[in-house]
Symmetry: C2
Subunit: 405 residues, 2 copies
């Protein structure tokens, strides 16, 4: 047993959000889940909701569903997501393709909006897909990648960005929360620096939205994308979202021009005319089934409010760090995330040379963290579905496996 | 009542596939549904299956689902679709993004595979999105669109294609079944003509797959895409599929390079290396929830077999035409689809100057066909969920509305 002041029992008892955990499928099992930042648990309401959708909406409305309910869904759910999680006013967020496809379109649109500029800035620790897409877009558009080399236990600083942005920069692509270190970027400062150079910024919010408070409108962000299956609990492969600042929407020009991005989708005329609003960034028929689960989670996030979610998230990561200092540091484990919670997102990473084997052993005993090179144990602590007891059990299991190994 | 030989009762009684209709949600209602070629009805098993997936797979496996079940799903479902519906061997079909996004990637890959060639051939009656995407790809790649002007009541003929393909042609983009006329293209002849010119062909199968028999491998097709929410009953906005001939897969190079198309998705290394197989055409995290409903329909199609489905489809469209000749031709209605069932897909279109108003009136009385310019009443007769009685009731309703109007 872990003794006070690290005893989880009083922490869970005092947690104002603790009761919400029971709303998630599997909360009653002893499994320790530290991967809610990769795939969030489903809410218990979601399964019956999907079955009812099939019976009543799809099966009942049939093709009429498009006119009566679904056509507006990418913008309606986008508006809800923007209001509840992103600090975005209506009309600036839309649900669409995968994160990769939306990122591709966002980068292409950003490059097109800065003709004559020759560089895309990206950091070395950005999520692999972000780096791949940035490279592919740079290559096909004849631009050069300009790399920011970052410490894998931290993230991009103002000074690092200031050193590389300039009149050649077309776009800066950054993650709001780094997928390994959980480094929480200073979005306001980095966006301002980018704008001073006359460039556009594209933020990847995948590891941020639903766990940290965002203020995209207030920050003057140009473009952002993110996935919905992490802290937004949309389900495996749920569709992603794209945000665009109000100042940019009418200029956005993207290459995948399908019927749903057309100004008049049902006109079916000879030419493609982009929708005047953010729908111009969509391409094919919206994935309606994939948008249902995230609506359930958005309703819960709306009920709780992001400030409370963020407070719980900080409490969970602080607790994990305190436990690790007590139980894991003596075994040679180091923190590979920012110690300052103001600079840290919803997960926390610890390193040890044996972590790859430790994570494999943990999985065999139903403790599910992530392994991330180099030597990283990543604990994703989904604020609404993770208890302090779960954190305590998981960190204790890590200590046991390290002692055993 | 419609008298013999057009009485639907004995036709339904003798229909070997008639019993399957009850497997679909809403089959018990009096609604007449002629839009199964736009959005197929859900199967009754699909709602409970989705609920069970949320509880057991997503909620039970959590992140482990990717390793244990989902990572292979785009290829597994693709293989099933290929075998059951497309005449495609394993490894040649994959489930991915929307039809639009896959079409974009297919066209980009095809253009890249024919460097130095300067034209994309497309027909004037191809589906709007196909024309838009072809135009956008041509524009950004510096190619010219070469149009085949077709009769809206028919489709692309060998002679028409022969007149435009040549050494300048990079790609020919065609629909296997035309969305208005239901013209069933001679895919073997048109593919051979394209290949004689040294070009690649991309077939849009959206209005064909699940209703007509396809033989993509035997025909030597290069690339094909299609949606799954029409005759494959995948649900609103279900993900699309891409087929590539075995001769082409290793050469395919597409611009949206994300983690899931990487040779080693979990390596997360610095460079993007395309998967050696068709996974290279994918980009973002696969939409797992969106692939479940289509699996239910594929199981039914596998049980019944495409030859029987096609026979029922022909019987339904022949019956609709016979009824129209009896009831609608005297009112001035003309057939705008091929009269020869061998040249006709799973829907049938009739024209009359008043059709726009007629379709609006039909919708108000729960008879749901599509209106398609110019003056077209389109009856989509989904073979497994449409009865002869439904066709008779619908055509009689059209006659009533024309007489009333």
């Amino acid at each position: 047993m872990i003794a006070a002041p690290l005893d989880p029992v009083p922490l869970d008892a005092a947690d104002p959000l603790g009761a919400h955990r029971d709303r998630f499928v599997g909360a009653e099992t002893p499994l320790v889940y530290f991967d809610g930042n990769s795939l969030g648990r489903p809410l218990r309401v979601t399964g019956p909701r999907l079955a009812a959708f099939v019976e009543q909406e799809w099966g009942g409305l049939l093709i009429r569903g498009w006119d009566e309910a679904w056509m507006a869904l990418p913008q309606q759910v986008g508006d809800d997501l923007g209001r509840i999680c992103l600090g975005a006013g209506p009309g600036r967020t839309i649900i669409g393709d995968s994160t990769t496809v939306l990122l591709y379109k966002a980068l292409r649109a950003a490059v097109a909006a800065r003709p004559g500029r020759t560089e895309i800035v990206v950091d070395s620790d950005n999520f692999p897909t972000d780096r791949y897409v940035a490279r592919a877009v740079a290559q096909e558009c004849g631009l050069t990648l300009r790399w920011i080399e970052v410490d894998t236990a931290a993230g991009v600083t103002e000074q690092q960005l200031a050193d590389v942005v300039g009149p050649r920069t077309a776009v800066v692509l950054l993650s709001h929360v780094a997928y390994r270190s959980a480094w929480l970027a200073d979005a306001a400062a980095l966006t301002a620096l980018t704008h001073e150079a006359g460039a556009l910024v594209v933020w990847d919010l995948s590891h941020a939205a639903g766990a940290v408070e965002l203020a995209l409108d207030a920050t003057g962000v140009d473009l952002a994308v993110g996935c919905t299956y992490k802290y937004l609990n949309g389900g495996p492969g749920a569709p992603a979202y794209l945000y665009a600042g109000a100042h940019l929407i009418e200029q956005l020009d993207q290459p995948i021009q399908g019927w749903i991005g057309h100004a008049e989708p049902f006109l079916m005329g000879p030419d493609w005319t982009p929708a005047p609003d953010l729908r111009r960034m969509l391409s094919g028929t919206p994935p309606i089934l994939g948008m249902l689960a995230m609506q359930d989670m958005l309703a819960l996030l709306d009920e709780v409010g992001l400030p409370a979610v963020r407070a719980k998230s900080i409490a969970l990561t602080e607790y994990a760090i305190a436990l690790a200092e007590d139980l894991l540091a003596p075994l040679g484990v180091a923190l590979a995330s920012p110690r300052d919670p103001a600079r840290r997102g919803g997960h926390v990473t610890f390193t040890h040379p044996a972590m790859r084997e430790v994570v494999a052993a943990l999985w065999r005993r139903d403790v599910l963290p992530d392994y991330r090179d180099p030597h990283g144990l990543r604990l994703g602590l989904s604020p609404l579905s993770t208890s302090f007891a779960e954190v305590a059990a998981g960190v204790a299991a890590v200590a046991e496996e390290l002692q055993r190994g």
